[in-house]
Structures are given as C-alpha cells and as structure tokens.
Symmetry: C2
Subunit: 499 residues, 2 copies
C-alpha cells in the first residue's frame, strides 16, 4: 500500500522459558487433564477458573526463594497504579476467591482447577516460566477426612492419568512436627524456621550432609552459588537428624509409633500425631493401600503457607537420563493443609487443604514409566491432481468426515510426490487418489501409509503384511469409507504404542 | 509462630476486567471448546499451544485503536531488558511460530488453538481484559478452497457448539475491494486508509450517518468522546456509500454481480472479485447453503493485517437486553486472509487465512439463542450423623463413585438441617442418610432433592410426582446405587433444561 522502505524484520523467537507445544504433546497433556478432572468431578469437586492476574498484595509472598517484593513473579502496575502480578500457583487465587465469596459459597467448598501459572525465574532445560498446574482443594473443613479425601483422590487421579499400581507413592507428614521441634529447641524467628524447613525439604536431593550445612552457616553448591543457612543451634540440628532418621518403611501406624518414640515434639508435635492418626484412620476406611500412601517425616514442602499435613507424590521408578545414567524422577506433585491463607483476607481462621501437580511433569513421568499411549493419528489426505476435478476431491473429503474420519484436502500447489511426503509427515493413515482414470471408472485408489510406516519401523513382518495389506489398492468409489475404516481399525490392532 | 503484630489484611478482590467463573459457566464454555475442537480435528487441523508471552516486536502493533507502543497490551521488560507482552490474540503467535519453524512444518500448515488472550483496555460490563479465543488457521495456501474450508468449518463448528440452522450467518467480503476504491480515489496514505476501514467497520453499529462523519472530519459520540476522522475526499466517501449500498440479499453470485456493477474498483477490485468467485465455487462444491454464507461488501474487520477475504459470523436473532429492549447480538467471530504476517519475520510472502471466535461470547450467543443445555448436576451428598459411623458413610460414597455417580461426604461440622441445605445448594440429585437405625436395619434413607426442585420450579405436576416419586424413601442398603440411579435417570427425562 505504500512506497516507504520496509521496516526492519523482527526475529521469530519466543521469550526464554516459554515453550511451543504441538500435536502429540498437546494431546498427551489434554488426556491427563480430561481423565483427572473426570475423577475430581466424580468426587464432588466443582470447576473454578480465575483470571491470570491478581493484585500483588492478594497473591502474597509465598514463593520459595523469593524474598524481594515481586521477585519470582511477573508483575506490572495497572493504570490506577496498583501492582498486579500473574498468578504463580492456583492456591493463592483460590484463597482470594474463597475470602471474597465466603458468605455465598456452599461450605465446605470443594473446587478443582487447571490452567497456566507463571514464575519469573531463570529458565533452563526442562525448567519453564509458564506451566499448567492442576489443583484440587477443600476449603472450610478441618476434618482429617478432608486431607485423606484429597490424598486418596490424588492417587485415583494419578492412576486414571495412566500410572500403574506401585509406580507412585504419596508420602505424608505434618508441619506441626517441626513446629514442635523448633519450639522445643527455642527457635522462634519465623524466617529462621522457614529457612530450616526449606533446607530439610532438600533432604531427598542433598542428603544429610547438604541439609546440615543449610541448617548451620550455609552451603556452596557445585555451580558456585552460596546459600545462606538457618544458623540453628547444633543441638536442634541433632534432634532434626534423629527425627528424620525415624522414617520407616512399615505401615502408617508403625511410622507414627516411630515418630512418637523420637520424643521432644512438644504440644504442636502431639497435635500433629493426632491429625496424622485421623488421616490414617480415614485412609484405611477408604481402602487406601499402605504401599500407596506412607507417612514419612522427611516430607516438608517448600511453601511457607502450609500449617498442618503435607503431601508429596513421588514416581517410584529408577529412570535413565539422555546419557543412560540412572536418575530418580522425584516429586510429581504435592500439597497440604494451609489453614491461614483465607484468614489473610478475612481475619477468620478458615481450614483448607489441597493437592497440586504439574501437567507437563506428569506427562514426563508417564513417559518415564513407559505409560504413554499411541501417538495421535493424522487425517486422511486427499491428493489434488487437477483443478477441474476439485468437486470429486471435496466430495471424498466430506464423505470421510461425515463418517467420523478425520480427513483433509491437500491445499498447497505442489506435485504428487510432494503431496505424498506431506501426507506421510501429517501421520495420515492413508492417501486417497482420484486421478482422471479412477474418476472415469467410478473407482478410487487408496495408499495405505500406516502399513508403510509399520514396515519401516520393523513393527510388522514384511511378507505377512504384504500379503494381508496391499500397499495400494484400487476399489469401487463407493467402498471409500469402508476401505479407509479397514486400514484404520487394522492399524489400531497391530501397531504398538510408541515406547 | 510469632508474636509480631499481624500485618494489614489485603482486600479480597481481583483486578478490574478479570472474571472468576464457577461450575455451570465453566462447563458451558468447556462444552463449546470440546465440540468445536472435535470438528476442527476431523477437518485435519492439529493443535498448537504457544506461551502467553511474545516479544513485543514479534507481536507487532495490529491491535485496533492502539497507536502508541505497548498500548492495548500487558507489557513488561524481561531481565535482559527486552520488552515482552501477553498475546492479544492467537494469530500473531501463530505467525511467529510458523516463521520460526517454516522449514520443518508440513505445508500447508493447518492448526487450531484455544486459550486466553489479554487486552489492556478499559474494562466495562461484559468487556473483559482476559478472554478465551478459539482459532483455526491454514498457513501456506493461497487457494480459495483454503478460505472456503475455514468458512465451512466455522459453520460446522458453530452448529456443533449448539447453534441451530438459520441462527447464524457468515458474511464474507474482501479487503482488496477497498484497496481498489482507495486507489481509484487517490487515497494513498496507509494511516488514512486504515482509519477509513475502521470507520466502515462500524457501519453496522453507527449507520451511514456515523460512518460518513468518521470518513470526514470526525465524530463526537454520545459519551462525549471525539474520534478523529479519515478526512477522505468527499467524492471517495460517495463511492463508498454506493458500494456499501450494493449489499444484496440474493445468492453469493448475485451479490458479486451487484458489486461488479458499482464499478470503479480498479485492478485490486478485480482481483478481489476473482477471489470471491473462487470461494463461492468451493463453498458451493462443499454444499454450503446460500443462507449460511453470504457475500456482503459492508464487512471489513477492524484488524490492520487482513489482506484479502474477510469473514464475520453473526448471530441472526433479535435478542432482548436486561430491560426487555430488542437488541441485535451482532458478531460472534470472524477472520480472514492475512498474507503478510509471516513475511514480517521471513521477508517471504506466505499466504494464510483463519477464523477466530471468543468462547464466552459464543456461550452468551447460545444463551441468547435459547440453546444452552441443562445445568450440570451436583454430586450426591452423604450426610454425616455420628463420627463413629464414618466407615458407613465412606463406604456409601465409594460405592456410588465406583458406579460412576459423582458423590461426596459432607465434611463440615454442621447439623443435619444445614447439611440438607448444603446438599441442595450443591445441586445434589439426592441426599443419602445412614442414621443409627438405618445402619442397624441394613437400610438407607434417600431424599430425592431433584423431585423437590422440580416441584418448586413448577416443572412437574404436584400430585403426579408425589405418587410416582416419594420425596424420601428407605430402602435396603444394597439397593443404594440402583435407587440413586433411578432418581438421576428419571430426572434427566423429566426436567427441562434451564431457559
């Protein structure tokens, strides 16, 4: 429209830590969300969707390792000068929503939610600044049955998503056990307590040697980063070590006995043991296996807002990394009781408990556990030979779609060979060819691309397949749908899911 | 944990223009997305999810009425000082993605996407700063069949979402018609052209009187806001009026004839008529009804990036507002051909065409068209009488869930009456009562809440229902699932969807 010099071209790239996801990855994550939400709705949880932004003061500063204002979040000032920030999890918005609508909500309020959350952290391999979380929470119940329900439902959700029995465990503990330990050891500074909890949260990864450094002066990690320690008195660190060492592999009741025997847990610790005992009773009433949910005093969770029971779901598989080295997959989700989050707004104590998992991370866990399913199939591609025959191509596409078969007309301008390559890259089960001869004879030629791929992948015996499935066949035009259906159904049976 | 004074309590509120959506609204929108994406996948479109943020230079400045940098978007500076912004639509991220991955994509590339987009505009009633869009686009095809496919698929998607035949129309035109008019009238300034197009885009709302003011000096609206006009020569405005007046109600071919008869459309106009004629041919080959897709020269679309065909889907209903006044619902989606968006990055012309709709807006349209479906049903609620009988309650809940019936245990601490009120507010079809007497006798009492609601709403005849459906019945404990199922299935038949 104008003769002005063209403007400089921007580079086509996305900001660091933000990923593009295409067909099969999107399908795998949607499958997880669909199956888990089916479970959550069957357990009586209702959906809630809140906006991406919250006022910064409503979000609070509960992100691990974020001590400066707005650190760790994407924040900006609205035109009325109020600071708002993208949610970093789904719990803070729930607390705000529950406080805002408390009078009119049915109580207890059970809700589930899924959607993106944003963390303004340093991105790295497999570490994104945007990811989808899926949460379920009960607000307004102090009953141990509410915690047990969340835990049991999380187990059922993970199983529905695809994890087999024994591939995951939920470990449970209670923050008040540490409150008791800290009380007994005279550690009263909340910052010191939080630093110590975050140190203990790394027990799994750093072992005792790393944790004790973080409970004391601090720790220099391999990358050269120095983390300031909690500076706990040595005697307290010793008690913590004994306490962490009480982790047994027996039943939940045996684990509680072992913890009780450590002693020195004070009033808060007694309360914790009572709560855990109630959760055990409810889990057992619900028929939840001892192997599926364990009590484990090393479980802490890094978030400040937990006030009671804490849960962590872990993948129970030794997996291998890119270089074939054995690695522990670790946590795939977690949660706990946070009785003070709603009270931040209302001033009134409102018990709440919930569980959260990252959808991409669960998808990775399913891959690691060998539980991912067959890749999604592309559409049947109808080849274009001659503009003049467009009506015939469009009719074939429409007929396939009406039969519920995904189908498309090739819409580029390339020749036959390129169209075949296109069909193959689209993952088409078959290509449909309506050349002049076929049209004149009332026929259609169908190329079986699934068979070709199965042969190429060594999934099928060459001779047997060649006999059973002609690579290409010409059939009567009115046998189009039936022939394509035969190819698709046959392939569903014979081809293995991708490993 | 600390004796410090409690911090000031934040107010529980969300930023203006960001909405919370609960159960039934979420369910209605998810139903739309699920049905439309089923259609789009059957037409061979694959899903793509991109991140919320794009670099500001990659997004470009294509928002209507946003002339200052970063106006209209939520932008912030990354820690490497680059400006990034939340996407304001799904087209700009697609163009960036396609440019970035062009070499490895199967071409033409068909993708669909849905997800939130953000506009930093003044919020108002029904006007949000975050909303979910659903888009389908074909990149890499200049064929009129590609436009026709998008239009026909949009029609099928709207129908799948719930609109009946005749409740919506897609109106189609071509931007090059105006290019021809402007060329002929000597209007070469691109800003002037864009201002004029945006004025014409308001024809539907303002009528010719409003448009002609905006084509000239400018217009003062009722709220006192002054909009600067395009200052077109009077003769050009006259031609535009004649052109807009050519809109006929005949077939697509008749509409093209009428436009051609206006004349003075120049070379660009001739190209537009050829393209529209190709689209008409393809639509007719696809069996798309003349009433479902019309050609209409008043269709412009406000976005700068369209280069050829433009589409607008409109709800064909007189609806009434809160005060019972008749209002036109207007546009429920639109799109068009934007052949230059990918070239912004690559410098190489890459044809592209697509259609987009707002999911909440379509949900409103379905409501206005009387096409919304029965509200989702809440879970069966099991009442808690006595802590000691918890095992019986948990067993009942588990049994219902295993039978695929959504069920929950009441987890608060309120009495029987409050629990019944809770069950009713949850939309429970029934409440399950296992008091001491029932348990001792191997029985269960079931209160039919659906029947109660139907009676209260006047949906059922009192006498007939009372005879057929006891409000409360005590049955053998092992008839629990069967009895609840009877209530649910009976209700599905008798109760009408909410209007």
């Amino acid at each position: 429209m104008t003769d002005a010099a063209p403007p400089a071209r921007p580079e086509a790239r996305s900001p660091r830590g933000f990923a593009d996801r295409r067909g099969p990855d999107v399908a795998a994550e949607r499958r997880i969300v669909a199956r888990v939400t089916e479970v959550y709705e069957r357990w009586g949880f209702e959906p809630l969707e809140t906006g991406a932004f919250e006022y910064a003061d409503a979000l609070g500063k509960f992100l691990p390792d974020a001590d400066r204002p707005n650190e760790g979040v994407f924040a900006l000032q609205d035109d009325d000068d109020q600071w708002m920030a993208l949610r970093y999890d789904l719990t803070a918005p729930l607390a705000r929503f529950a406080a805002q609508n408390w009078e009119t909500l049915p109580k207890p309020y059970r809700r589930y939610a899924f959607g993106p959350v944003w963390r303004n952290e340093k991105p790295g391999p497999g570490r994104f600044r945007e990811f989808v979380q899926c949460d379920a929470d009960t607000v307004g119940s102090d009953r141990p049955e509410a915690d047990a329900e969340i835990i049991a439902m999380a187990c059922e959700g993970l199983k529905a998503a695809g994890l087999a029995e024994g591939q995951a465990v939920v470990r449970v503990s209670n923050r008040k056990l540490f409150d008791g330990l800290f009380d007994a050891g005279g550690v009263t500074d909340p910052v010191q307590r939080l630093t110590a909890l975050r140190a203990i949260d790394k027990y799994d990864r750093l072992g005792w040697e790393g944790v004790v450094a973080l409970l004391g002066e601090g720790r220099l990690d391999e990358s050269g980063d120095y983390t300031k320690g909690a500076r706990l008195p040595g005697a307290v660190a010793d008690t913590i070590r004994a306490f962490l060492g009480s982790a047994g592999e027996g039943t939940r009741a045996e684990a509680l006995d072992a913890i009780a025997r450590v002693g020195g847990l004070g009033a808060a610790g007694e309360a914790a043991l009572n709560e855990l005992s109630g959760i055990d009773r409810a889990l057992t009433s619900m028929g939840v296996d001892q192997a599926a949910v364990r009590f484990d005093p090393t479980i802490v969770r890094g978030l400040e807002y937990y006030t009671g029971a804490v849960f962590e779901a872990e993948l129970l598989l030794e997996t291998t990394d890119d270089k074939g080295r054995a690695v522990r997959f670790g946590s795939i989700g977690g949660g706990g009781r946070y009785d003070d989050l709603v009270a931040r707004f209302t001033g009134e104590a409102t018990p709440a408990t919930g569980f959260s998992f990252g959808v991409s991370r669960l998808a990775s866990a399913l891959r690691a556990a060998g539980r991912n399913e067959a890749a999604t199939r592309g559409p049947v591609v109808v080849i274009v030979f001659d503009e003049a025959d467009m009506q015939h191509y469009l009719d074939a596409v429409a007929e396939l779609r009406r039969a519920g078969i995904a189908a498309e007309l090739y819409l580029g301008r390339a020749g036959m060979k390129a169209q075949m390559k296109y069909a193959d890259r689209r993952g088409a089960p078959a290509a449909v060819m309506l050349g002049g001869n076929e049209i004149a004879a009332g026929q259609v030629t169908i190329k079986d691309l699934d068979a070709g791929r199965a042969l190429a992948a060594g999934l099928a015996d060459n001779e047997a397949w060649k006999a059973a499935r002609p690579g290409q066949q010409t059939v009567a035009r009115d046998a189009l749908v039936q022939t394509i259906r035969g190819i698709i159904e046959d392939s569903s049976i014979t081809r293995s899911p991708r490993g």
